[in-house]
C-alpha cells in the first residue's frame, strides 16, 4: 500500500515524460509544407493515422451504401429506370443491365468488407485506442503504422479504377469463386476488373498485416506500469485477439490471391479443371480444382468474419459498463469467450461450403464445430445482459447504439443456427436468409457498434462532444429502418428467394415477393438518407460542438486521463495503473467511478476483498 501511495504522490506532482508531450500539437504557424505533411499527411502519430483511417472508411461507407441502394433498386423494381445513377447508362435507356447488377453487389460487399468494416475497426479504432488505453505514448512501430494506412491507397486506387476499365469492376461476387473469376471469358467483369480486384485485395492485406504486427507488439510490450493483461479493457483484448487472427489467417488469403492472379495472367490453372469450357472457349490449362479456392478463401474469410465483429464486441462491452455505471459482468469469461471464438473460428470455414460438393462427411465435422462456436457468443450475450442488470442506465446516444448492438447481435447469432444445421442449409443456403444473417451481424451488429464507439470516443478525438439530440434521432431512424430492411429478409429467405439474382420474379415460386422487396428498398433508402443527419452532426460537432473535458462520460480507462484531444505523446505524465477498468459504483467511494490511475483507495480495497 505504502509503495503504491508514494508512486501516486509522484504522479500528483507531475513527472513529465518529455517536453513534446506537454505541447498538444506542433503549431501549424511555424510549419513549412514539410511540417504540414509530416503532421497531417504522412504522420506517424497513431491518433492521426487512426483518424485518417476513420475519415477514409466513412467515405467508403457512403460509397458502399450507395452501391447497396442501387442493388436494392434493381431487386425491388427490376429493369426500371434508375434515378440519378441511370444517367450514367443512358445508352441503355436508364435501366441497369444484369452485368451491371452483378458488378454492383460484388463491389458493395467488397467495399463494405475490405474498405469499411475491417479498416474502421482495426485501422481507425485499433490505432486510435490501443496506445491510449494501455498507457503508451504511441505504437511500437510508428513507421509501419504510417505505411499500414498508405498501403490502403493503392487498394483504393485499384478498386476505384476497376469501375472504369473495359467490362467494368469485378462481378463474380466478393467471394470471387473460380472459374467465373479466373476465366476472362466467363463474364464482362472477369477481365481487368477482376485483376484489379485481386491487386486491391492484396494491398488491403498488406495494410492489415502491418497493422496486426504492430498491435500485437504494442499490446504485449508497451503497457503502462501496473497494466497487467487482466487489467486490459475488453476493447484491447478484442483488438489483440483480432490482430492474432489477422496474422495467422491473412497469409493464406494472400497466397490464394496470388494463385488466382497467376491463373488469370499466366495460365497456371490452380483452380481450373481439365476440359473446362467457358463461353465456348476451352481453357488452356487444367488439372486444378475450383473447390481449392473456396477452402483457401474461407480459411481466411471465416476468421475475417470474427475480425469484423470482435473489436465491436470489445468496444460495446466498455460502453455498456460505462453507461450502466457497473462493473463488467464476468470479465474473465468475456476474455475467454473472445479467445474461444477466435480459436474455433479457424475450424469452421467449411460451413460456407456445405452445398459446394465438398465431401458431405466433412460437412458433418464443420457442422459440429459451427454449432459449438455459438456457445462463446451466447456466453458473451448473457454477460452483457448481466452487466446492465442492476445498473443505473444512462440513455446517451452511445449507450443506445451499444444496447442495440446486443439486441441485434441476438438476432444475428440465432439465425446462424439455421444455417449451421446442414439439412436446413440445403434449403436456405444462398437465399436471403443468409443475407439477413450477415447483415444482422455486420450492419446491425458491427456498424451499430462502430457508431456507439464514434459517439463515445468523439470527445477524445476532437475535444468536443457530438450533439445528443440529433444523435438520438440518428439512432432511432437507423434502428427502425435497418430492421425494416433486414428483418424481412428472413421470411424472404424462408421462401427460398435466392440472392444475387437481377430479377427473380419470373420464377413461379418467387413472383409474389415484389411488394415485400419494394418495402425493404424504401426502408433501405430511409436508412441511407438518415446518415445525412449523422454526417452533419459529425462535422458540425468537430468545430462547434460543446467542448469536452478530459473525461466527459466519467469513464475509468486510461485514455480519459489524457487531454482531449491528446497531444503528441498522449499523456502529460506516465500513467500508472492500480486496478481493472470496470470499477464503477464501488461501495464506500464518493464518486461512482474509480479510474484505473486513481491511487489505491481503502474502501475500494475493502469492497474488492468482500467481492471475492
Amino acid at each position: 500500500m505504502s509503495t503504491a501511495d508514494t508512486t501516486a504522490a509522484g504522479i500528483e506532482h507531475g513527472t513529465h515524460v518529455s517536453e513534446t508531450a506537454a505541447h498538444p500539437q506542433p503549431s501549424p504557424s511555424k510549419g513549412s509544407l514539410s511540417t504540414f505533411l509530416s503532421t497531417y499527411v504522412f504522420s506517424k502519430d497513431h491518433k492521426v493515422i487512426g483518424l485518417q483511417f476513420l475519415f477514409s472508411t466513412l467515405l467508403w461507407f457512403l460509397v458502399g451504401g450507395l452501391l447497396a441502394l442501387a442493388v436494392r433498386w434493381q431487386v425491388a423494381w427490376p429493369w426500371s429506370d434508375v434515378p440519378v445513377l441511370g444517367k450514367l447508362f443512358a445508352q441503355q435507356g436508364g435501366q441497369m443491365s444484369p452485368e451491371f447488377y452483378t458488378m454492383l453487389f460484388t463491389m458493395h460487399a467488397t467495399v463494405m468488407i475490405f474498405l469499411v468494416i475491417i479498416p474502421v475497426l482495426a485501422g481507425a479504432f485499433g490505432n486510435f485506442l490501443i496506445p491510449l488505453m494501455i498507457g503508451a505514448d504511441d505504437m511500437a512501430f510508428p513507421t509501419l503504422n504510417m505505411l499500414s494506412y498508405w498501403f490502403m491507397w493503392p487498394a483504393f486506387a485499384a478498386f476505384s479504377a476497376s469501375f472504369f476499365v473495359e467490362g467494368g469492376a469485378a462481378s463474380s461476387g466478393w467471394t470471387s469463386y473460380p472459374t467465373l473469376a479466373t476465366n476472362v471469358n466467363a463474364a464482362p467483369g472477369s477481365g481487368w476488373g477482376q485483376t484489379l480486384w485481386l491487386v486491391g485485395l492484396t494491398f488491403v492485406g498488406v495494410s492489415s498485416m502491418l497493422g496486426s504486427v504492430n498491435y500485437m507488439t504494442t499490446i504485449i510490450l508497451m503497457r503502462a506500469p501496473g497494466m497487467t493483461m487482466f487489467r486490459l479493457p475488453m476493447t484491447i483484448w478484442a483488438m489483440f485477439i483480432t490482430a492474432v487472427l489477422q496474422a495467422f489467417a491473412l497469409p493464406v488469403l494472400t497466397a490464394a490471391g496470388f494463385m488466382q492472379l497467376f491463373d488469370r495472367t499466366l495460365g497456371t490453372g490452380f483452380f481450373t479443371p481439365e476440359g473446362n469450357i467457358v463461353n465456348n472457349a476451352v481453357a488452356t490449362a487444367g488439372g486444378g480444382q475450383p473447390l481449392l479456392w473456396q477452402h483457401l478463401f474461407w480459411f481466411y474469410s471465416h476468421p475475417a468474419v470474427y475480425i469484423m465483429i470482435l473489436p465491436a464486441m470489445g468496444m460495446v462491452s466498455d460502453i455498456l459498463t460505462c453507461f450502466a455505471r457497473k462493473p463488467l459482468f464476468g470479465y474473465r469469461p468475456m476474455v475467454y469467450s473472445v479467445a474461444g471464438i477466435a480459436g474455433l473460428g479457424f475450424i469452421v470455414w467449411g460451413h460456407h461450403m456445405f452445398m459446394s460438393g465438398m465431401n458431405p462427411a466433412l460437412g458433418v465435422t464443420f457442422m459440429v464445430s459451427t454449432m459449438m462456436i455459438a456457445l462463446p457468443s451466447a456466453v458473451k450475450t448473457f454477460n452483457w445482459l448481466g452487466t446492465i442488470w442492476g445498473g443505473k442506465i444512462q440513455f446517451t446516444t452511445s449507450m443506445l447504439f451499444a444496447l442495440s448492438f446486443v439486441s441485434m447481435f441476438i438476432i444475428g447469432g440465432l439465425s446462424g443456427i439455421f444455417m449451421a444445421a446442414t439439412p436446413v442449409d440445403i434449403f436456405i443456403h444462398d437465399t436471403y436468409f443468409i443475407v439477413a444473417h450477415f447483415h444482422y451481424v455486420l450492419f446491425a451488429g458491427t456498424a451499430m457498434g462502430v457508431w456507439a464507439a464514434i459517439y463515445f470516443w468523439f470527445p477524445k478525438m476532437f475535444g468536443r462532444t457530438m450533439n445528443e439530440f440529433w444523435g438520438k434521432v440518428h439512432f432511432f431512424l437507423t434502428f427502425i429502418f435497418l430492421n425494416g430492411t433486414f428483418f424481412t429478409m428472413h421470411i424472404l429467405g424462408a421462401v427460398g428467394f435466392p440472392r444475387r439474382l437481377a430479377d427473380a420474379y419470373h420464377y413461379e415460386t418467387f413472383h409474389h415477393l415484389q411488394p415485400l422487396n419494394a418495402f425493404m428498398t424504401y426502408c433501405a433508402i430511409g436508412m441511407v438518407a438518415t446518415q445525412i443527419i449523422f454526417a452533419v452532426n459529425f462535422f458540425w460537432s468537430m468545430f462547434f460542438g460543446p467542448v469536452a473535458g478530459r473525461n466527459p462520460w466519467n469513464a475509468n480507462t486510461l485514455e480519459w486521463t489524457a487531454p482531449s484531444p491528446p497531444g503528441h505523446g498522449n499523456f502529460d505524465y506516465q500513467p500508472v495503473v492500480y486496478r481493472g477498468p470496470y470499477e464503477y459504483s464501488v461501495p464506500g467511494v464518493e464518486q461512482d467511478h474509480l479510474m484505473q490511475t486513481d491511487p489505491p483507495h481503502p474502501a475500494a480495497a475493502a469492497a474488492a476483498a468482500a467481492a471475492h
Binding site: S171, Y177, T179, L180, N183, A186, A187, P273, G275, N276, I277, V278, V282, L291, A324, K326, P327, F329, G330, P333, S356, P360, A361, G363, V364, M367, M371, M372, A374, F382, I388, G390, G391, K392, I393, S404, S407, I410, I411, I417, F418, A421, T422, V424, I426, F427, H429, D430, N483, T488, H490, I491, V495, G496, P498, R500, H506, E508, T509, Y582
Partner: protein, 274 residues
C-alpha cells in the same frame, strides 16, 4: 422527462421481439413462407427448420425480453443509487455455458440422420439423368434404350426435366463452365455443380406437378435467367414422355450420327475438334 425517455427507449427495444415474432406469425398468411414440398425427405428438413425456429424463437423472446426489462427497470431516473457492485457469478457462468452447450450438441446430433439421408446414403442405381450446368441453361442427358449414359443413343434436352414420382431418382450433376447450383425449392434440394466434378443428387418425389429449377450459385451476368422446369409424373407417363422425346430426336437427325444438336458443344466434342 427522464422517466419518459426511459419508457420510450425501453419500449423501442420491446418492439424488437414483438414485431419480430409478429413478422414470422403473419408471413405464412401472405404465402411468404416455405414453398410447397413434394419430396420424401422434405418433411424432415422442414421439421428441423421448425424445431430450430421454435427453439431460437424461445431464446429470442427470452433474451430480448430480459434486455427490455433491464433497460426499463434499471434506468438512471428510477434506481436510487442502488447499483449492484458485482463482477460476475461463477455459478451463472457455468449454468449458461453448460445449458446452451447441451442444446447445441443435441441439435448437432439430432440433424445428422437427415443430412446423411439427403447427401450421404446414395441409392445403389444407375443415374436417371445427367444434369449439366452451362451459362445459362440446364442441359439434360437421359440414357437411351441401353440404360447407359455416354452412349450414342442418349437423349439430349435443355431446361425441361421430367422425373418419375414414388421412386428414387439419381441425378448426376456436372458443370461445363463455371459454378452453378441446382436448386429445387419444392424438393428441398440444393447442390452446387462444379466444373471437373460429377456430383450425385438423389431424392424421391411424392406428388405430380411442375416446379422451378433455380440456379442458386452466381454464374455470370445471366445467372438470374438460368431457369429450368421440373415435371414430376407417374412412371407410365414419364416413360411415355421419354419415348416421345426420343422419337422426336431420332426424327430430326440421321440415326447413324452420334451428335445430337446439343452434343456438338459437349466438352468431349470440343476437345476432339481441338
Amino acid at each position: 422527462m427522464k422517466r419518459l425517455s426511459a419508457l420510450f427507449w425501453s419500449l423501442l427495444f420491446l418492439a424488437v421481439p414483438v414485431l419480430g415474432v409478429a413478422t414470422f406469425a403473419v408471413a405464412p398468411a401472405y404465402d411468404i413462407w416455405l414453398p410447397k414440398d413434394v419430396s420424401e425427405h422434405g418433411p424432415a428438413v422442414d421439421g428441423l427448420f421448425y424445431f430450430i425456429l421454435w427453439l431460437t424463437g424461445a431464446v429470442f423472446i427470452a433474451t430480448e425480453g430480459v434486455l427490455f426489462w433491464f433497460i426499463w427497470k434499471y434506468d438512471e431516473s428510477k434506481s436510487n443509487g442502488g447499483v449492484k457492485y458485482v463482477h460476475g457469478s461463477h455459478t451463472l457462468e457455468v449454468v449458461w455455458t453448460i445449458i446452451p452447450a447441451a442444446v447445441l450438441l443435441f441439435i448437432s446430433i439430432y440433424q445428422m440422420n437427415t443430412w446423411a439421408d439427403v447427401k450421404m446414403r446414395r441409392p445403389d442405381m444407375a443415374p436417371t439423368v445427367e444434369v449439366i450446368g452451362r451459362q445459362f441453361e440446364w442441359r439434360l442427358r437421359y440414357p437411351g434404350k441401353d440404360g447407359m449414359l455416354g452412349t450414342p443413343d442418349d437423349l439430349h434436352l435443355v431446361n425441361d426435366l421430367h422425373l418419375p414420382i414414388d421412386e428414387d431418382v439419381l441425378i448426376q450433376l456436372k458443370s461445363m463452365d463455371v459454378l452453378h447450383s441446382f436448386f429445387l425449392p419444392n424438393v428441398r434440394i440444393k447442390q452446387d455443380a462444379v466444373p471437373g466434378m460429377k456430383i450425385p443428387v438423389w431424392f424421391k418425389a411424392r406428388e405430380e406437378g411442375v416446379f422451378d429449377i433455380v440456379c442458386a450459385e452466381l454464374c455470370g451476368w445471366g445467372h438470374y435467367k438460368m431457369k429450368g422446369r421440373v415435371t414430376f409424373e407417374t412412371r407410365e407417363s414419364f416413360d411415355r414422355w421419354l419415348e416421345q422425346k426420343y422419337a422426336e430426336q431420332e426424327a430430326t437427325q440421321p440415326a447413324d450420327s452420334e451428335s445430337a444438336a446439343v452434343a456438338k458443344l459437349s466438352p468431349a466434342s470440343l476437345l476432339a475438334r481441338r
